[in-house]
């Protein structure tokens, strides 16, 4: 097990290096002078020169890269050129709504998807299954910004049950905070629920056809015990993998969801930074997101080794 963990961590290092190099070169991909792109033409030339010096853009590119990496290693992700604050502080202020949103969305999707997936598989090719698979198809094909607007139209504008934008912290405002997160979490959770439903359904169908299920039935276990003890346990393994793989989609979805519902999260910060042409902030936030994504995938991989002992042997 320890070997698996160390092996996975070692494999992550070159990827991390490439990711940082990619993010570093983002600034140099801009057509023309990045300083001119970041600042309006009317800005005074000395201000531009100061920014160029501050970002080290007057140095040779190798020196720039080494300085940048050196600062990264010390935990300095740079500063926003708009508000002058360190990237870490900008992100720190925004992380709470994002985490709450992601957690809420995951909870919703798992609670919806697991029963639907189980019913779909047990009622294979019957009406309940058709409803389940249609739901999954709907969730996969529905763009989340469109779903967000449909939900806003239905529950916010027409029925007036839920707030359509803005954020209140559920930990401080309680019920009102939860209400402010319902529509965003449903928006973000639907696509995930669809993917989980599909995966669980097909892995359940596979597990149901296994010999050990026939054995369990033959020895007289009730159907429920067969499902719970033998089928579900094995069928949930692919679901864990998919949950890990879908994390990227979840983060991307959060960008859109936070934008539509005006939630002050990290996703919204990315969009704002992109449109403010605050490239150092874009670089810093994207780097944090990528590293978070890599680390959570690493975690899922290792977790997978715990859940499925067969992996450890490989």
């Amino acid at each position: 097990m320890l070997r698996l963990v160390l092996h996975r961590i070692a494999a992550t290092i070159p990827v991390l290096l490439l990711v940082t190099a990619g993010i570093f070169s983002l600034l140099h991909l801009t057509p023309g002078d990045p300083i001119d792109v970041m600042m309006a033409e009317s800005v005074d030339a000395t201000v531009k020169e100061n920014l160029r010096k501050q970002l080290g853009l007057d140095q040779p590119i190798a020196v720039q890269y080494l300085t940048w990496m050196g600062r990264l290693v010390r935990g300095d992700l740079g500063r926003s050129i708009r508000n002058g604050e360190p990237v870490i502080e900008n992100v720190g202020r925004r992380i709470r709504p994002s985490l709450q949103l992601a957690l809420f969305a995951m909870t919703i999707s798992v609670t919806v998807a697991i029963p639907i997936g189980i019913i779909s598989a047990l009622r294979h090719n019957r009406t309940a299954d058709r409803v389940g698979t249609t739901f999954a198809l709907f969730g996969i094909c529905m763009p989340n910004f469109l779903l967000a607007l449909l939900l806003i139209f239905l529950f916010g504008v027409t029925l007036r049950w839920l707030p359509i934008s803005g954020y209140m912290d559920p930990l401080e405002e309680g019920w009102d905070g939860v209400r402010s997160l319902v529509l965003p979490a449903v928006t973000l959770g639907l696509a995930l629920a669809a993917v989980i439903t599909r995966t669980l359904r097909s892995s359940l169908l596979e597990a149901l056809a296994e010999d050990y299920v026939r054995t369990a039935r033959a020895k007289g276990l009730s159907e429920w015990l067969v499902i719970r003890g033998h089928v579900l346990k094995n069928a949930l393994i692919p679901v864990v993998t998919v949950l890990g793989l879908q994390l990227g989609t979840l983060i991307g979805g959060a960008v859109i969801t936070e934008y539509v519902f005006a939630l002050p999260g990290v996703g919204r910060l990315v969009v704002d930074a992109v449109f403010a042409r605050d490239y150092p902030l874009v670089q810093g936030v994207v780097l944090l997101i990528a590293v978070g994504f890599i680390l959570s995938n690493l975690l899922v991989d290792i977790l997978y080794g715990f859940i499925d002992p067969r992996i450890r042997v490989r």
Partner: protein, 302 residues
């Protein structure tokens, strides 16, 4: 049961260079299987309609998609404007029809770029092996370490707003999928007897790649590409919803939906028109992609 036997026979036939007679029955088999999927024809109709709308936009659109009419803003759907008008009085239907062009071009071009780049990289990695393989695949892993939308957003941002930036960004995002697929195919095909035979006959590595490896690896690439187009269309719409991509006043579904969200209460049709077009196109493409997969690759059809 009977069908599964036939399917495994089909798989064998696919891996051996088929005689002309077998090729015809194989093609027939493919068609029959595609037709058996009941939803595939529906998807094909949607796809054909979308292509027709994209090509024939100048003739099909009842109005000029850019022409404003400030005397007739936010008009409800009716006889004159089937999908109503937007906040500056432009005909929503005409804009949806023109927007089809942007969506299809974005979906097809970005995936085509990814297929070309990914196939070449995958071939290189699978063929060269060793250090080259390691470098190429770590590079692909690095691209995959970004959430796709975040990467597209960051790339789109530095490349500048506009369709070209979005196309390149999406092309980069989808490249690793095809590189991994191609590399896997190369590794399996390279070990086949007919490749050994070709090498024994004196074929160069390049010849083997063109004659044997690429044609045999094409099926999974085609299937993956058809499904990727649907997701690329969604991704383009998301990016233009956020304000990257085609710039106003030009029409794209994503930017129309974004522009309409301020008028959800008075004029929900501004959002619903392009929204329905987007959703139906993506569903249709999914049906076609699933049917293609079932037809071309019976092993995956479960």
């Amino acid at each position: 049961m009977a069908s599964s036997i036939r399917e495994s026979g089909f798989a064998d036939a696919a891996s051996v260079a088929a005689a002309p007679a077998t090729a015809r029955s194989r093609r027939w088999d493919v068609w029959r299987r595609a037709a058996r999927a009941r939803l595939a024809p529906l998807g094909a109709v949607v796809l054909l309609l979308a292509i027709a709308a994209a090509i024939g936009a100048p003739f099909l659109a009842p109005y000029d998609p850019l022409k404003q009419n400030l005397g007739n803003t936010l008009a409800a759907p009716g006889r004159a404007h089937a999908l109503g008008t937007d906040n500056v009085g432009r005909d929503v239907l005409s804009r949806v029809i023109w927007g089809t062009r942007v969506s299809l071009v974005a979906g097809i071009v970005s995936v085509a770029m990814a297929v070309v780049a990914g196939t070449l990289l995958g071939l290189l990695a699978g063929y060269a092996g060793g250090r080259v393989d390691g470098i190429v695949m770590r590079l692909m892993d690095a691209v995959l370490s970004f959430p796709p939308l975040v990467l597209a957003l960051a790339l789109g941002a530095v490349l500048g707003a506009g369709l070209t930036g979005v196309l390149i960004a999406l092309g980069v995002v989808y490249t690793p999928t095809f590189a991994r697929l191609m590399r896997g195919q190369v590794l399996t095909i390279k070990a086949r007897d007919y490749v050994d035979a070709a090498r024994a006959l004196g074929a160069s590595g390049f010849q083997i790649a063109c004659r044997h490896v690429v044609p045999n690896a094409a099926t999974p690439i085609v299937v993956q590409a058809s499904l990727s187009v649907a997701f690329a269309i969604l991704a383009e719409a998301s990016l233009s919803f956020l304000g990257l991509g085609v710039q106003p006043p030009q029409a794209s579904w994503g930017s129309m939906i974004n522009a309409g969200r301020g008028y959800l209460q008075q004029a929900p049709w501004i959002v619903f028109g392009p929204g329905a077009a987007l959703f139906i196109t993506v569903v249709g493409l999914n049906f076609v992609g699933d049917a293609l997969r079932d037809a071309l690759d019976p092993r995956l059809s479960r």
